[in-house]
């Protein structure tokens, strides 16, 4: 029965892991475009609007209320999949109709993001970040 020297096997594993990991990571970076937005909303006793386009801000929302903002994925000559992620205070309250959105070549796509405020959420400023990952097919 053929056997392989353990020391050589471990060395080979490490070399192969570094090569595969590096190639996979470079490939991932090559086919993805990542955009990270600051995002926030304020829970208060009245509704407020904020149409700042550099951040995804939902303005002031009352408890049990909700608000929506859109992200425009601009045209490209290749097909892409957009995936959305969040972190921070907002991540528990933010949602969209679909996690992964297909964007056809030469067409734009708007993705709506919604925040829904529970009845018992304390007044205050809630912030975080939204990450849009565009994966080229």
């Amino acid at each position: 029965m053929a056997r392989v020297n353990l020391t050589k096997a471990v060395f080979l594993y490490i070399v192969i892991y570094i090569i595969v990991f590096g190639a996979s990571y470079l490939y991932y970076l090559h086919r993805t475009e990542v955009v990270i937005y600051d995002t926030n909303f304020i829970v208060g006793d009245h509704v407020g609007f904020d149409l700042n386009s550099s951040v995804i801000t939902f303005g002031m929302v009352t408890p049990a209320g909700s608000a929506s903002r859109g992200i425009n994925i601009l045209e490209s000559d290749v097909a892409r999949h957009a995936k959305l992620y969040a972190r921070g205070d907002v991540s528990k309250f933010i949602s969209t109709s679909q996690h992964s959105v297909y964007v056809a070549p030469d067409s734009a796509q708007e993705i709506m993001l919604d925040v829904s405020i529970p009845v018992d959420l304390s007044f205050g400023n809630y912030s975080g970040k939204v990450k849009v990952v565009l994966l080229t097919d």
């Binding site: 993805t32 407020g48 959305l84």
Partner: protein, 66 residues
């Protein structure tokens, strides 16, 4: 000198390559929560009526487009 069977070596090779391919995708998502479809976030019983908040779009109070 210690050695391992060839079959075990090949199995290890498959595991190493699989992990090497998968890890970059995992690294990019650590600390991020996927934004997905809304779930029931609040159920309140008031005056004998059940109040469900299921779809945020049904209760839009502030709608802007960036």
């Amino acid at each position: 000198m210690r050695s391992i069977p060839l079959s075990l070596f090949v199995l290890g090779l498959v595991v190493v390559i699989s992990v090497g391919l998968y890890v970059p995708y995992v690294i990019e998502q650590v600390g991020w929560t996927p934004i997905d479809k809304p779930t029931v976030i609040d159920v309140e019983s008031e005056s004998g009526n059940l109040f469900f908040t299921i779809d945020p779009k049904e209760n839009v109070t502030n709608n802007g487009t960036s």
